[in-house]
């Protein structure tokens, strides 16, 4: 169980950031789903309900997801379901249960860069930016590769450009962490292949993505090319062993899931 000495609910982002930076052990509180499983020592917990960041809206060609939008909000959002072949809903629907998803926030999920995360893989396959209070706006891919720095994630932005994405994950028990997850997206001739829960955090398979994208203009990908891309994705990414699966098995799964995801995204209208 974690311990917390005091708790504040600031009315502005400036206030929230000031408190966050005041002490090493001050922490932004999301849904606390992951927090309560650990034994972190928090000096001041900063709760952002008053900032009204629990929205999902469309503006200027982007879908905006406020940091406090819950995974359940993502799942049931009529806005998100219109876009991206409904991939966000598919990525979050299998997580634990409705009650759990009603509490876990999109902001905490992304900011924490959890390896086991399902939605992170789907977001990375889309044209996704994150907006940090201090760090400003940057592509999700950049954010994921940066070292940890204290900040507040304010919103997630998805370019509503017609990109279609497919999400595949592999678990043993239905409400378990994924053994591996994969998302493949396509916008015209641009394909993006992402694998996550490797068990480490989602990453784009750049070479494999380039292979499919490059060849696509010449002719639609055939079985051989798709297999080659899947193999390349497996080779360029790193996989590991944990209680749920071995490195070798994850590598096999990557090839199969990427292949299937590419086949499926090619069929998206």
């Amino acid at each position: 169980m974690f311990t917390m000495i005091s708790l504040v609910q600031p009315a502005t982002l400036d206030e929230a950031y000031d408190v966050l930076m005041k002490s090493k052990n001050n922490t932004i509180l999301g849904g606390c789903g992951y927090l309560r499983m650990g034994s972190k020592r928090i000096s001041t917990g900063i709760e952002l309900t008053k900032l009204n960041l629990n929205y999902i809206s469309e503006k200027d060609g982007f879908v905006e997801i406020g940091a406090y939008a819950t995974l359940r909000d993502l799942e049931t959002s009529p806005i998100l379901n219109k876009h991206f072949n409904g991939v966000i809903e598919k990525a979050v629907a299998g997580i634990i249960g409705v009650q759990f998803r009603s509490m876990v926030t999109a902001g905490a999920t992304v900011f924490s860069k959890y390896g086991f995360s399902d939605p992170l893989t789907a977001l990375l396959a889309l044209d996704c930016d994150v907006e940090l209070f201090k760090g400003g706006r940057m592509p999700l891919e950049d954010f994921l590769s940066r070292p940890f720095e204290k900040d507040i994630l304010v919103r997630i932005l998805l370019k509503s450009n017609g990109r279609k994405a497919v999400y595949k994950n592999f678990r043993n028990a239905a409400s378990d962490y994924s053994i591996l997850n994969v998302s493949v997206s396509r916008l015209d001739d641009d394909f993006r292949i992402v694998a996550g829960a490797r068990p480490s955090t989602a990453r784009i398979a750049k070479k494999a993505s380039a292979l499919i994208s490059g060849k696509f203009l010449q002719s639609p990908p055939d079985e051989a090319l798709i297999s080659e891309a899947a193999k390349l994705a497996q080779e360029e990414l790193n996989f590991g062993t944990n209680m749920r699966g071995t490195k070798e098995y994850r590598e096999e799964l990557c090839r199969v899931l990427v292949k299937r995801a590419i086949e499926e995204v090619l069929e998206c209208k």
Partner: protein, 758 residues
């Protein structure tokens, strides 16, 4: 029958579903001290120093106890009949800790926050020893888990504690060597079953206080109140009649609560402080520091003639009982006693086993109790044998299984009283579509469907050991009170016992009040384990009710001034035969407490059986396998059971469905896992996956009723037999689909995949 066999709702159903405060924690008092336990982080260590002084000084801390503050008599936490076939290898707190999670200190404080704060201030230094974690390397390991001299066994179980051996077994009939020579086909295989966690929704918890007579009262979530009372008496060195144990409504057990994991701690604190005390294990503690199913390695060698008659079965078991031996010696026997009697065409059988200590969470009781492990090994071997003989697996079983009136080598002097197993197999085959689906159907390039099967038996109570008593009393208002000791875990045993009494007394469910599982009030009962509730306690209930009925008739006849032979019992009255004269039960009851008759009526009976009539289940699994990944969906599971006469049709069905799903969990997902230092990694529902709603597509059930002459209304048991078939049936289906025998549970997609691609 009017009430037996019907879908009677449970008498506690509405209260427990709508959240009424009737469980242990709800019944604790607001002023109860809260107990927290400091646990060992090491799998094997000796406490070289422990300083609780700072912890004791925290405001609100009542006491902090270490191994220096507790009685030094070893005992067992096992809920078994006395004298227990369990080593007395425990102390309340020991200087040596034997698994990661073993108790080091007891903290009692005014609230949880204070207790946890105090716990952080306890300073402990350990001398860490090398643990023995692999049960296959335990015998003769340089690590001896129990080196102490004051360990004591009630019997000679074959213990050699210097070698980490808790118990040995050896049963042999016939000439194995000779019989194997004469077999046309021999199959030999080694199977591994994993440790699994009972995972009942209510964790272990106990509450204790001193009553108005200075007696210790313990309200606890237990399956064995009478055994708990005795255990507390031994461990606390307190006279047994100064202790009262009460089981209120509890949130499941499945065997976990046949080991008294928590009762001793509040009891000790209450004795020392005079104050009420409460301990509630959180889920992590229940995973880490209660008990699990015994992991086992079971080698089976089986020989048959070319007609498919199984002539010889040789089983060798190795069982991992973890740090303490509670149920070690008793579980291992069922590997053979609940498999070998099924196949009675054998001319020679042998069972040998060793039970070993390791530095892990102790093995305990979990539904099936050894039969589950044995069934996986034996049934899987039979399935292998069937293939080698090119025989349908259902045919080989129908050919070899025991019939009514027959004996077996294992039970040479006993004739099987009842079985409908043949019908269970036939019905199950029809329901799943065995003939058209066996062995497999190829659906596409990478998709295959296949079926598999297994059969199983269990027992009904422990023959010649279990004994239960029941009392039925006629109250002054004409209604009845049924006093029993059996412990309803939520299964509905209170309800079915009321049904039985109501059937005999021709009364309604509303006329019977059930008082159960209070050691001051209830007649003795071993508790709910070994599937004894319906059969053993049930028979006592029937006999007690019959005795009361006779007494009512006698009293009625007296009041009517006619000989008893001229009267008959009519449920609400006693009537004179062929005459229009009667007296109501109500009137008899009223008069029985007045000066005139001055004879309150009650019936009392004890029952124990020389036999343990087996219930049977035939289980069939259908899987659809994704050959590219090894993932399989269990698209259908059919289970057909023979539990003798069904006492309550709803409850029997739910028992079967619930047990099958637990078996599916064991077959597919559940796995107790330790790290290289012996620390439990699967210590939460996040890591230890019991089946969720989405994991179970379809479980279809049916019953084939036999009639057991020694059972109440012809009933046997159902509580445990229901869990055994899924692991072997699913392993069989996966084999039929992929050619891969997964011999080490659980059957994960990775194991299937690696098997296909090796």
């Amino acid at each position: 029958m009017k009430i037996v066999g019907k879908a009677i709702p449970k008498i506690d159903g509405l209260a427990i579903t709508t959240g009424k405060p009737v469980y242990t924690e709800d019944l604790s008092t607001k002023d109860a001290l809260v107990i927290k336990i400091l646990r060992s982080p090491h799998a094997f260590a000796k406490i070289t120093s422990i300083d609780v002084s700072k912890a004791q000084q925290v405001e609100g801390v009542e006491c902090v106890l270490t191994y220096k503050d507790v009685p030094d008599a070893r005992f067992t936490l096992a809920g078994q009949s006395y004298p227990e076939p369990s080593p007395y290898d425990r102390l309340i707190l020991d200087q040596i800790v034997r698994y990661a999670g073993d108790e080091v200190a007891i903290i009692a404080a005014v609230d949880e926050k204070t207790a946890l704060l105090a716990m952080k201030l306890i300073k402990v230094e350990y001398e860490v020893f090398e643990p023995v974690l692999d049960f296959e390397k335990s015998i003769g390991s340089s690590t001896v888990v129990h080196p102490e001299d004051d360990l004591h066994c009630n019997f000679d179980m074959g213990m050699e504690k210097g070698k980490n051996i808790v118990a040995r077994q050896h049963i042999e009939y016939g000439n194995l060597e000779e019989e194997f020579k004469n077999c046309d086909v021999v199959v030999e295989e080694t199977w591994y079953t994993q440790a699994t966690a009972q995972s009942m929704m209510e964790t272990h918890r106990s509450f204790s206080y001193l009553d108005h007579a200075g007696r210790l009262v313990v309200i606890c979530s237990t399956q064995v109140p009478f055994h708990v009372k005795r255990m507390l008496s031994i461990a606390l060195k307190l006279p047994s009649n100064k202790i009262r144990v009460i089981k209120p409504r509890i949130g499941g057990g499945f065997g976990a609560k046949q080991t008294a994991c928590t009762e001793i701690f509040p009891a000790l604190v209450t004795i020392k402080t005079g104050k009420p005390a409460l301990i509630v294990q959180d889920r992590t503690e229940t995973f880490m520091a209660s008990t699990t199913r015994h992991a086992m390695r079971v080698k089976v060698k089986m020989g048959a003639d070319k007609e498919g008659f199984i002539k010889v079965i040789d089983i060798h078991g190795l069982s991992d009982t973890g740090a303490y031996g509670e149920h070690g010696s008793t579980t291992v026997g069922l590997v053979a006693s609940k498999t070998l009697p099924l196949y009675n065409k054998t001319k020679a059988i042998r069972f040998m086993a060793e039970v070993v200590y390791t530095n892990k969470t102790p093995g305990g009781a979990f539904r099936g109790y050894g039969a589950t492990q044995g069934t996986f090994a034996v049934e899987s071997t039979i399935n292998k044998l069937a293939e080698k003989l090119s025989m349908d697996p259902s045919e080989i079983r129908l050919k070899n299984i025991i019939k009514e009136g027959e004996n077996s080598l294992y039970h040479y002097d006993q004739m099987l009283g009842s079985t409908a197993l043949h019908k269970c197999i036939d019905t199950g085959k029809k329901m799943i579509g065995w003939d058209s689906k066996y062995p497999r159907t190829v659906l596409g390039k990478n998709k295959v469907r296949a079926v598999g099967m297994a059969i199983t038996m269990q027992g009904s109570g422990i023959e010649k050991v279990d004994m239960a008593s029941a009392e039925v009393r006629l109250n002054d208002d004409g209604n009845y009170t049924l006093l029993i000791g059996s412990t309803d875990n939520g299964t509905g045993s209170d309800t079915i016992h009321a049904q039985m009494a109501a059937e005999v007394l021709e009364a309604g469910m509303d006329n019977i009040t059930v008082l159960s599982a209070d050691t001051d009030v209830s007649p003795f009962d071993p508790g709910s384990y070994a599937s004894s509730g319906t059969y053993v306690t049930g028979m006592a209930v029937v006999k007690a009710s019959e005795e009361l009925k006779r007494k009512i008739v006698d009293s009625g006849a007296k009041l009517l001034d006619v000989p008893a032979e001229n009267t008959e019992f009519c449920g609400d009255s006693v009537k004179v035969l062929n005459k229009d004269r009667s007296i109501s039960i109500r009137t008899i009851a009223e008069k029985s407490v007045l000066g005139g008759m001055k004879n309150q009526l009650s019936g009392f009976a004890s029952y124990g059986s020389p036999v343990s009539p087996p219930p049977f289940v035939a289980g069939f699994a259908e899987v659809e396998v994704d050959l590219e990944t090894g993932k399989y969906d269990l698209i259908d599971y059919v289970a057909v059971a023979d539990c003798g006469t069904i006492i309550n049709s709803n409850l029997a069905r739910i028992q079967l469905e619930g047990g099958i799903v637990q078996g599916i969990g064991m077959a597919m997902y559940e796995d107790v896992h330790y790290d290289y230092k012996g620390r439990l990694q699967t210590n939460s529902f996040m890591q230890y996956k019991i089946p969720s709603r989405r994991d179970v597509k379809q479980v279809r059930t049916a019953f084939e009723e036999s009639y057991e002459p020694t059972g109440p209304f012809g009933a046997k048991s159902i509580g445990e037999v229901v869990i055994n078939t899924p692991p072997p049936a699913i392993a069989h289906a996966v084999y039929n689909a992929t050619g891969v025998w997964v011999s080490h549970l659980p059957i994960t997609p990775e194991k299937v995949f690696m098997g296909m691609n090796r």
